[in-house]
């Protein structure tokens, strides 16, 4: 599945399965690989097996079946201390009886490095995270962000080939988290260490990673760059887990010229364009159609009455036209798209939330569908008439902007 490139593989999982009890596969036939120097994230809901993966990489747990390789060598039976892998724990796990310096020096002391070398390396690391003045402080006197930095360099000072980070930012408040994300990215680039970063925060994974693996119930649902997993989710789960999404379930009834037509129970016939080179699934199969809120445009008139609007650019620019009231009342409650290249739905505006740069609206199509969510770029008031709660509007998006997913 993953294209082999010339860059060395720091880590490979091949059909790795882990069971703690006979009846539950915590990690189920996992296969993936991580390139050297990559910032690789594992994203998934709580309990999906992320920490277990990291513990198998570090050697704290052994896989039940399957093979783990590092730099091409099988490490299943290599002692954890011989793997050159270190872990930043979920709640830092800093030693409360040692000060900042001694915490960072712990690994080097275990390896019996000369005291002089320890002092140099620890000091250099503390400097890197601007903590050199905190060396003598006790752990309890540090803020959450400072503890985080100490935990990070306590691992990094040992110069691991792979650094495992288990939700390292989970305990921090939002502002601090964003700041630490930046620091983490900078440090990773600077040192070139392979990072395997576990999180259940989608935005964190999207902004930080070179590639993301999305895990669900012990399995990987998709691996790809942030743009790939966001724009082209493979499964309904991925689309729901990464970003906000509108999902329609239905049956594939026709596929021609890259356009798939899906008959949905709640929203009628919808269309989507397959990415180039992707083969359509067999007709009649249950699929889902996913459209991101920012791809949806809101209109006052039906696009079929206004050919100019239908040819509007699909680059997210929002066009809202004030139309005549007569045209609106004439339209059916669920509009069928006039041509397969766009989708049109009609519904009542439930809610409008102003976010500054954007406005989110929720449109009630009918009783069966959850409200459609659209994210509109805010423009000058003259270009953008006020949307009124309770009024009926059209939601329009291009077939090419929606994605076909499996297992809806």
């Amino acid at each position: 599945m993953i294209v082999e490139t010339m860059t060395a593989l720091a880590l490979e999982f091949e059909n790795v399965t882990k069971l703690f009890t006979a009846d539950k596969k915590v990690v189920d036939k996992l296969s993936f690989s991580v390139r050297e120097g990559e910032f690789f994230s594992i994203l998934g809901p709580s309990g999906c097996g992320k920490t277990t993966c990291l513990r198998m990489i570090s050697g704290l747990e052994k896989p039940s079946t399957g093979v783990i390789r590092m730099n091409g060598k099988v490490v299943n039976d290599v002692h954890p201390h011989k793997r050159n892998v270190h872990m930043v724990f979920q709640k830092y796990a800093l030693f409360p009886h040692l000060n900042v310096f001694d915490n960072v020096a712990f690994g080097l002391r275990m390896k019996k490095r000369p005291e002089r070398e320890i002092r140099d390396r620890v000091t250099r690391m503390l400097k890197m995270v601007s903590m050199e003045d905190y060396a003598k402080r006790s752990i309890q006197q540090l803020s959450g962000g400072e503890q985080q930095r100490v935990a990070l360099v306590r691992s990094l000072v040992n110069e691991p080939a792979i650094l495992l980070l288990d939700e390292p930012l989970g305990a921090l408040d939002l502002k601090l988290r964003e700041q630490m994300q930046q620091e983490l990215a900078t440090i990773q680039k600077q040192l070139g260490t392979t990072f395997i970063f576990v999180t259940h925060d989608q935005w964190e994974a999207l902004t930080l990673s070179d590639r993301i693996a999305i895990m669900n119930r012990g399995k990987i649902e998709q691996i790809g760059t942030p743009a790939e997993v966001y724009e082209q989710p493979n499964t309904a789960f991925v689309s729901r887990f990464v970003g906000t999404t509108n999902l329609f379930k239905g049956k594939l009834i026709a596929a021609s010229n890259g356009i798939c037509s899906i008959q949905t129970e709640e929203a009628g016939l919808l269309h989507t364009r397959l990415e180039d080179g992707r083969l359509p699934p067999p007709e009649g199969v249950a699929v889902g159609l996913v459209v991101r809120p920012e791809k949806i445009r809101i209109r006052v008139t039906s696009p079929s009455h206004s050919p100019a609007a239908a040819s509007a650019p699909a680059n997210g620019g929002v066009l809202i036209e004030v139309g005549s009231g007569a045209a609106i009342t004439a339209a059916p409650s669920v509009a069928v798209a006039p041509q397969p290249s766009i989708n049109v739905l009609r519904g009542t505006l439930l809610e409008r939330t102003y976010f500054g740069a954007t406005t989110q609206v929720r449109l009630k199509i009918n009783d069966q569908l959850p409200p459609l969510i659209a994210l509109l770029a805010n423009q000058a008031a003259t270009k953008m008439p006020a949307l009124k709660v309770g009024e009926r509007y059209y939601a329009v998006w291009d077939a090419a902007d929606s994605v076909l997913v499996q297992d809806a």
């Binding site: 201390h81 979920q90 796990a93 409360p96 009886h97 712990f106 690994g107 306590r154 502002k175 601090l176």
Partner: protein
């Protein structure tokens, strides 16, 4: 620390008066009487003459009594040490096991307290006796020909002391280990520590408060113990506790007995002060304070 509603409060709340009264009447006053007696003179017929006599304290330091004190210290140290070695693995197991097993072991540790102490010691004496359970079992298994002498000697005293004081060591150790974050051990292992290094560099320093508390809980009462040596040791040797009882009841030398008691109490108090002053420096106490600080808002 920030003054809270409680620390700021100046007036003594009324609800502490009953316990305060209890302490004054049943602890402070009797202790005062003992200290007063220790400074007085013993009359010819065992009565107390109300004049100052510092000789009682001087007598405590006579070799024969010092030997007894030393023997008691040895017994207390042996009891505390052995209990520590036996209790630590048990407490560790309890702290790491699941909720059910944890509660079960805890119950087993506490259950003996439901029976009267003296009855328990007599029962133990029977179990260890010549025709007791242990000797019978060993004979049935043909491991021994003649019964082992397990009571009325030092072995009996040792077994009795450990049996009786083990829970006082297990409980504080369990409390210390139970609140320990065991991912710290994973972290140490991840950083290259061996099992021994994990124990010495992480587990030991972090459970030190429990070790100190447990040792004090065992050492101090074991030092003054007189029932167990009396019942389990035959009439072989004298311990401080026995000595004091006999001084009061047999030789009727109340001032000398009071002097010895006063010194015992003094020793206990000194060791408590040492422990308390340590407690303010110990890592677990610091950790608790850290936890509280964490709960507050984080300033960037």
């Amino acid at each position: 620390m920030e003054p809270t509603a409680f620390t700021k409060q100046q007036k003594t709340p009324a609800f502490i008066f009953p316990s305060l009264g209890w302490f004054i009447f049943f602890l402070i006053i009797p202790l005062g009487i003992v200290v007063a007696f220790s400074l007085m003179h013993k009359g010819a017929y065992g009565q107390i003459e109300y004049r100052l006599d510092l000789g009682n304290f001087a007598r405590v330091f006579e070799p024969i009594y010092l030997k007894t004190v030393f023997r008691s210290l040895l017994l207390a140290a042996f009891t505390a040490g052995t209990c520590l070695v036996l209790a630590y693995p048990l407490a560790y197991l309890m702290a790491r096991s699941g909720d059910m097993l944890k509660k079960l072991i805890l119950a087993l540790v506490i259950v003996p307290f439901w029976t009267n102490f003296v009855i328990r010691i007599y029962a133990l004496k029977l179990v260890l006796g010549e025709n007791g359970l242990i000797n019978q079992l060993l004979r049935e298994l043909h491991l021994i020909a003649a019964p082992l002498q397990l009571t009325d000697n030092l072995i009996g005293v040792g077994i009795g002391m450990i049996y009786n004081y083990l829970p006082f060591m297990v409980l504080p150790l369990f409390v210390a280990l139970d609140k320990l974050d065991f991912t710290l051990l994973d972290a140490a292992y991840d950083l290259g520590a061996s099992r021994v290094q994990m124990a010495l560099k992480v587990l030991l320093p972090l459970s030190l408060p429990g070790i100190v508390t447990g040792s004090i809980f065992v050492f101090i009462p074991a030092f003054g113990e007189f029932v167990i040596p009396d019942l389990m040791g035959g009439s072989q040797s004298m311990y401080v506790g026995t000595l004091i009882t006999e001084t009061f009841l047999k030789s009727r030398d109340w001032p000398f007995g009071s002097a010895m008691s006063t010194l015992l109490v003094l020793m206990a108090m000194v060791s408590f002060v040492i422990v308390l002053s340590r407690a303010s420096r110990d890592p677990a106490a610091r950790e608790m304070r850290g936890k509280r600080a964490e709960a507050g808002p984080v300033h960037v």
